[in-house]
């Protein structure tokens, strides 16, 4: 049985923990709103970009002259897995669920005798993946200095990926991130970056366009940007998911701390009362003995 003083100290420490988790929850809520707005604002651009790519790709119709980034290699050997995670922890299963997905995919590919290279974005993913795949980690993007995710950040990441592709370091690139569904649900998602995925949309199928300049030249300009935009979307969704996950994790922590305080307070009151009763009994039985 802990002493009264121990209980008091324990209660105080849980109380200050609760203050911290409460503060973190509110910060996450404020950041979440901003992150969600940014993700929503970026959506029209992403949609237009996808339609444009689809229109162009449809008119190229899988010709052999199509850029490599669109048609891809026939026998892909090396896969690049882009693991986008957070720079910070304390956000529930957010980082782990992305890492788990990457890990499973990496194992699966290794079993098929493919080469796996991993590019990590965010410290947490790197730390977790280092244990099993240290030799596969090829690059790391540090976002700790980045306050806002915008297209410049995404372009930087995409630029590196593109450079690696041009240098022939991999054949297929896939990005792993967490899609923001709601504050309590974030879905770990994978999306193929290279070769650029084309959405099949019925109304884009048959239209004849004039191209200015030639379609190959436009594609060469467009594909890296479409890829960068995929990265941007992933990073924005991730940012919103991270804050959402942190918010609900911290909400749980705050509630648990509250429950704990209640329980400890009851124990504290009981022990105090027990001590008083004990003293009273001692006094009374002492008086009776006289």
């Amino acid at each position: 049985m802990p002493s009264l003083k121990d209980l008091k100290i324990r209660i105080d420490s849980v109380k200050s923990t609760r203050k911290i988790t409460k503060a973190m929850q509110m910060v996450a809520a404020a950041k979440l709103r901003r992150a969600q707005e940014a993700a929503e604002n970026a959506r029209p651009y992403a949609e237009q970009m996808a339609t444009l790519t689809a229109n162009l790709a449809a008119s190229m119709g899988g010709q052999a002259s199509a850029p490599l980034m669109l048609r891809g290699k026939t026998d892909p050997q090396t896969h690049l897995l882009v693991a986008a995670t957070a720079e910070r922890g304390l956000c529930g299963g957010f980082n782990s669920s992305i890492v788990r997905m990457v890990r499973e995919r990496a194992r699966e590919l290794l079993n098929q005798d493919k080469n796996v290279k991993i590019l990590t974005i965010g410290k947490k993913g790197r730390e977790q993946l280092k244990r099993e795949f240290e030799t596969s980690l090829v690059e790391h993007v540090d976002l700790s200095e980045t306050r806002h995710i915008d297209h410049l950040v995404a372009n930087r990441v995409a630029g590196r990926i593109e450079a690696m592709f041009v240098a022939g370091e991999f054949d297929i690139a896939t990005i792993f991130f967490s899609r923001f569904q709601s504050v309590i649900t974030q879905v770990p998602t994978e999306r193929q970056l290279i070769p650029v995925e084309v959405e099949d949309d019925d109304d884009t199928a048959q239209r004849f366009y004039n191209f200015e300049p030639s379609e190959t030249e436009i594609l060469e300009e467009l594909l890296p940007r479409a890829m960068a935009n995929q990265v941007l979307t992933a990073l924005l969704e991730n940012a919103a998911s991270e804050q959402g996950a942190r918010m609900s994790a911290m909400d749980n922590a705050t509630r648990n701390a509250g429950d704990m305080i209640d329980k400890l307070t009851i124990v504290y009151n009981r022990s105090r009362q027990a001590a008083i009763t004990k003293e009273l009994i001692e006094i009374i039985s002492g008086a009776e003995a006289l």
Partner: protein, 132 residues
């Protein structure tokens, strides 16, 4: 001129403009062009320049540093990484574009470098044209 088409200008930061227009001046890479309703379907790349969307004696001007345009029967859609209303563009914004483009030219080689140099030159011309 009563016929109009839908003009949309989007950037990664959001929709910059979405309105009706009877004609849109576009700085296409191979020369300026004007898109009007029923223009033949076209996809093109844009160079740094000014977009003018005209509708009923009113002209809205936007500044972009490059991007893509898709013209269809009744729509003109412009995708641009940097897009501002002309009145919102300051000399600082312009300078930051030019600084960034200069860096990019420095860190690239070959054909890509040539393309970036053309773009940088375009930005400088644009800055002069904006008269900031």
């Amino acid at each position: 001129m009563s016929e109009t088409m839908k003009f949309t200008l989007v950037s990664p930061l959001g929709i910059v403009a979405s309105s009706d227009a009877s004609e849109v001046d576009l700085p296409v890479t191979e020369g300026d062009m004007t898109a009007m309703p029923h223009h033949a379907a076209l996809i093109g790349t844009l160079k740094p320049g000014i977009i003018r969307a005209g509708h009923q004696n009113e002209v809205n001007e936007f500044v972009i540093t490059g991007g893509f345009v898709e013209v269809n029967e009744g729509t003109t859609t412009v995708l641009a990484e940097d897009a501002y209303r002309r009145q919102d563009v300051t000399s600082e914004i312009c300078d930051s574009w030019i600084t960034k483009a200069t860096e990019e030219v420095g860190s690239n080689e070959g054909a890509r470098r040539d393309a970036l140099e053309t773009r940088l030159a375009g930005m400088k011309t644009l800055r002069a044209e904006l008269n900031l």
